[in-house]
């Protein structure tokens, strides 16, 4: 076996046995060849005297096993992870509350919008205004409901994905496994993503435009900029 063949085989065997510091080990054998060649031995003779690369590599492997670090997380890492989990859980609870508030806002504004549109005044909660203004304001509020609705869907998806990613991360850290980490941002199917974006866009447009129109119409009907004073809304 030539020098290069020997060193190549040694590298391959070391790699197969998962031995650390391969380059360092091989350099030692390169030096051995250099010294022996200088003494007048042939590459074949040197390779034969060294012993087969497989046997040599196996001897390095046994060394590595004694100093092998324990896989998986130690006690303190687990403790730290537990504390992290507590803080994460608190954050998720707050985020969950926020998402629920968004959902409730969406539902409330939807009801308000419909009530304004069909002039259904529950318990006289909605102050007086002419029907044209009421209808326009109702549409604007429905737009607001759409904004809240899209935001609610997004936030719940975000929360779900954050929890999944975090669970994956915790599992990987504890077990030393290498499952691919999950992304933290919400993962939607392209179709859902497009729908959500369209709903959001149109909701913003409807809310903005209708609010301005409703405001102007109400002003004109009341004959004053502060139409809410004209109809005594806050008395």
């Amino acid at each position: 076996m030539t020098r290069n063949d020997y060193l190549d085989q040694l590298r391959a065997e070391l790699k197969k046995n998962n031995v650390a510091d391969m380059a360092d080990i091989v350099s030692e054998y390169e030096q051995h060849f250099a010294f022996k060649l200088a003494d007048g031995y042939t590459e074949e003779e040197i390779s034969a005297k060294l012993g087969s690369p497989k046997t040599i590599a196996a001897q390095f492997d046994t060394i590595k096993e004694t100093g092998k670090p324990a896989s998986g997380a130690g006690f303190f890492v687990k403790l730290a992870l537990a504390f992290t989990a507590i803080f994460e859980a608190m954050f998720y609870l707050v985020f969950l509350a926020w998402s629920i508030i968004l959902g409730a806002s969406s539902a409330t504004t939807a009801v308000l919008g419909v009530c304004l549109g069909i002039r259904f005044n529950i318990e006289g909660l909605i102050p007086y205004m002419p029907y044209s203004g009421s209808l326009l304001l109702g549409l604007s509020v429905l737009g607001l409901s759409g904004i809240f609705g899209a935001a609610t869907v997004y936030c719940f998806a975000f929360l779900k994905q954050m929890i999944r990613a975090s669970v994956r991360w915790h599992k990987n850290t504890v077990s030393g496994n290498t499952l691919p980490p999950l992304p933290f941002n919400p993962q939607f199917r392209p179709k859902t993503k497009r729908t959500l974006r369209t709903v959001m866009l149109w909701s913003v447009i409807v809310f903005g435009v209708m609010f301005v129109i409703a405001f102007v119409v109400l002003m004109l009907q009341a004959g004053t900029a502060g139409f809410w004073h004209h109809w005594n809304w806050f008395v």
Partner: protein, 108 residues
């Protein structure tokens, strides 16, 4: 000679060689291979094990006309380990010697 117990004493031989002065890998390998029937390549894994056990350290040293050589040097731990292991081995060898001699005498 049985390779199984050669391996055990080779570590001791390497430590012994390093007790006097620092040596580079090839020097140790050559010296041992000349006197003990082992493959040339087996000393390097032993050196590496001694290093990972913290009994020796290494450093590179430039030599005139040649690549830098990797020198091995005994650590404090290596020194004390060697002294203890040496005493153990000598005691053990003496016992083994006396046992096998006794049995030889019986046969005769």
């Amino acid at each position: 000679m049985n390779t199984q117990y050669k391996k055990g004493v080779l570590e001791l031989c390497v430590l012994s060689m390093l007790k006097g002065r620092d040596r580079y890998g090839y020097e140790i390998s050559e010296t041992l291979a000349k006197r003990i029937d082992i493959a040339d390549g087996t000393v390097y894994p032993i050196l590496r094990k001694l290093k990972s056990d913290g009994l020796v350290t290494t450093y590179l040293s430039e030599e005139s006309g040649g690549p830098p050589r990797k020198y091995y040097s005994l650590t404090e731990l290596g020194r004390s380990t060697y002294d203890a292991d040496r005493a153990d081995y000598l005691e053990f060898a003496k016992t083994v010697e006396s046992i096998i001699k006794e049995n030889k005498d019986d046969k005769e």
